[in-house]
Symmetry: C2
Subunit: 514 residues, 2 copies
């Protein structure tokens, strides 16, 4: 990391932010990946995978369920068989799309210092997302509700090392025609980080765009000229793009908003059992989706992505943070490099509880993404049960790891002051440096200060209640939530948003149709 | 890892080995590090640190408590002040020693396929070592005994990914004058991996050499001509080499046996608070020890090492698996590269229990060592409380991570068979690959099969008792120990060793004196 960017270390108390820092004052927001890139396959085999993906798109084709999308592909030069809904995309179309897709995507947050830049070399963390359930040690495992979602948005806001708001948990107690209002209300009122919009049909997407536009006081032109939010597009692997996903790609591209394309290809299930085969499929599907966005609006912001892991062949259950998952991330990183786009990868865990397995799988998965040079690493905190549950405690314990990684993104110093020959001369053989001048000048800020990891000795730790990290994490999230709002949106904006939501809700909301 | 060595995957049931494999049949023994090396400091600052270390040795000096060692240094050209026991070592002496120390060290185990090679680029894992206490969920935390040591040697033997026998726990119930007999009896009778010898004075060291020599049926010449065991040398930082450690360096160098030199430099305690300062000190001390071995016997096998982490400045307690520890490993790796010697680094954890913290710290520390290109990574499994305790369960859960790392050391395939265009054509859009021919041919061996990580769903897991990884690890180590000996040494050798030990014990054993 010798040449990595130095992050400013000043703590800045921002207007509207009330939270107290509990770690040292490194800026965890604007990270550049300091890790060397690792290759799993030789460059010529990566070329072969890319070629195979183009071959898949051109000759095997992809099933596209949305008529409008098939028409866009057809008008762009693809061969379309309406009877089978199959689309055969030529390599020239794919290459043009990769050429027009931006290599760097700025996304605006609620305030400038929460903006993010998706560009190769940058490093953006997201907590676990898309879970139907939540769990914590106080209230147990349960289906996710709006109350849970709102709490998790606040926890997500608290940790600077989490850079965007993902759809952390599904608020299942809110009717689907009203859910996007509540998801947006929580994101805009409780957080100023980059918000997420679910691609659940044009009406909901356009209303979500309106809410963000108006909340941020933007004109329609201003909104369309800048990216203000993002969606995640999962293909229906293998080789299928369903109606809401295709519609999302179209709607987001039209509006200049960001699609993060992520085929979810489990080796041995919806993808070939081999890493190379699964990645060939994932790459083909991602390229198809990217192509669609560029047919709609050349230059539309779209982020390449993959989420390729394996299944347990005994049970068929998905597993994460495995050697195969690690290697799939590396392969995807090599392909992302080849096409020159920012890209999203993912960690995860299949553990059922926040234990050694959960920690080890998630961290192992994160290292795969880091060494793959991923721009965005999702499910980097809090994900259990292969994504069926987000754990409050695991979100907290994983953030300790992400903060330690973020510390490695700062520049390390080895000037003469740090080499410290004076201090070495000052302390006699067998002595200690606790009281050395060199130590005294630095001891308050030299080291990362953990907030979950406890290095007290066994006696002190036992006397203090012998709490494991999981239970200490309960204390942390409860304290964060008890302290009050991490972010308070300006009152007039909140009021306008309430008014909008009340009005639309009264009109019946928006159904999830395309 | 595109060009990493392929490890053979055949399971080989070896004579005298009874254990059952519980993971897929990758050979975890002969590993080559597949990870790209990471730099924390620029090359010119590494040069500056090296220069500063030479400066420390030449001008500040190092206190050497053993008269024989001071004499060796003096005869080698060092300036020695007998009144202060300070030794001032010129850079020419250091450079000559680095030049004559072997860049590659083969160490013989009890059988050829457990031999190891310490050479830059190789990867050797050791479990946690040097702990006064042990803990497990059945019997609780307790001072280590011989029974514990023997069990842990057996667990260490079970896991192929643990490559040497370290002094895992101190058998405190054995009198110190007899302890080396019991330590050697356990290592030779219960394991055929490379054994460890404590440097606790010449009598014990020489007796340990004799036991290994005779057990392996070697002549004295054969023993001296090959490395058959190793010791670990910790300096007394700052700038001090105590009597047993200096004696160990001399005795091992004379006998052609391996010293692994590891200054234990905690930033802010016995070393400067800065990474660069602590590493300058560690490097200087390691070079002094290496120089001593080469003065005794040019070409004597000696392994460069570091163990530099930080203290918690609130409590003064040592911490491990921190960002500072990670970076210190990287810096040491750059210095090891510079001098071209194999080198040892370390992971660790300051957690008091095998929880999320314990897992996250140890794995974080391991990644620091891996990206630093460490040859030997010690404390990579089982270490709690900053080394005050070895946990049976943590040893098991950490081995899962080490096995996953070892899987990444094998060569990944991306041939046309793996890209699998046929399989991609065979499965219709939206279908699945479970029954595909390509899957059926591979499903039994394609993926790493975890032995602790459980990917069953929440319902099945709950019905099965809702055991966390820690408790599942209890089941694993109990099963391993219940299955009987992992290794049975040939009876005649065991008998001869018993005879030797009985005789020497009857004569009063050997005191820990130099």
């Amino acid at each position: 990391m010798s040449e990595a960017e130095t992050s400013p270390r000043a703590t800045r108390r921002k207007a509207g932010e009330r939270r107290e820092r509990i770690s040292r004052v490194t800026d965890y927001h604007n990270l550049t990946n300091p890790f060397p890139k690792m290759k799993v396959f030789s460059d010529d085999r990566i070329d072969a995978i890319h070629e195979a993906s183009l071959n898949v798109l051109e000759n095997l084709g992809i099933k596209v369920l949305l008529p409008q999308a098939r028409e866009l592909f057809k008008n762009g030069g693809a061969k379309v068989d309406e009877s089978t809904e199959m689309v055969f995309i030529g390599r020239d179309m794919v290459e043009a799309a990769v050429g027009s897709a931006p290599g760097s995507i700025p996304i605006m947050a609620g305030v400038r210092d929460k903006d993010i830049l998706l560009a190769p070399g940058k490093l953006v963390f997201q907590c676990g997302a898309g879970a139907p359930n939540v769990t914590d040690l106080e209230r147990g495992r349960r289906p996710g509700t709006l109350a849970d979602f709102r709490e998790l948005v606040r926890l997500n806001q608290h940790f600077d090392v989490l850079h965007m708001v993902p759809p952390i948990v599904e608020p299942q107690d809110v009717p689907i025609n009203l859910r996007h209002y509540e998801v947006m209300r929580a994101q805009l009122n409780l957080s100023n980080k980059v918000p997420f919009v679910f691609s659940r049909g044009t009406p909901q997407v356009l209303e979500s765009f309106e809410m963000i536009r108006d909340f941020r006081g933007l004109s329609d032109e201003e909104f369309h000229a800048t990216s203000q939010c993002y969606t995640i597009i999962n293909t229906n692997s293998p080789r299928q793009l369903d109606i809401p996903m295709a519609q999302g790609l179209i709607d987001f591209a039209k509006a200049g908003q960001v699609s993060i394309v992520t085929p979810f290809t489990l080796m041995g299930a919806m993808a070939p059992i081999t890493i190379a085969g699964a990645i060939t499929l994932s790459h083909a599907e991602a390229l198809a989706a990217i192509t669609l966005t560029q047919l709609v609006n050349p230059g539309a912001p779209v982020c390449y992505g993959t989420f390729t892991s394996n299944v347990d062949m005994k049970s068929g259950a998905p597993t994460f943070g495995t050697p195969e998952h690690f290697r799939a991330s590396l392969a995807a990183g090599q392909l992302a490099d080849k096409i020159g786009l920012p890209w999203r990868s993912a960690s995860g865990s299949s553990a059922n509880i926040n234990d050694a397995q959960a920690s080890n799988e998630t961290q192992f998965g994160v290292w795969g993404c880091l060494l793959a040079g991923a721009t965005v690493i999702i499910h980097a905190a809090g994900w259990l049960e292969g994504g069926l549950t987000v754990s409050y405690e695991k979100l907290v314990t994983d953030c300790e790891v992400l903060q330690m990684v973020a510390e490695l993104c700062t520049k390390a110093q080895a000037g003469d002051d740090e080499i410290a020959l004076d201090a070495l001369a000052e302390v006699a053989p067998g002595g200690h440096f606790f009281g050395a001048n060199h130590t005294m000048q630095r001891y308050q800020t030299e080291f990362y200060e953990p907030f979950i990891h406890d290095c007290s000795n066994f006696g002190s730790w036992s006397e203090a209640g012998a709490k494991d990290a999981d239970h200490r994490a309960t204390d942390v999230w409860k304290k964060i939530l008890q302290e009050g709002a991490q972010y308070d949106a300006p009152g007039d904006r909140v009021e306008n948003l309430e008014h909008y939501i009340d009005k639309r809700s009264g009109e019946g909301g928006a159904p999830p149709i395309s």
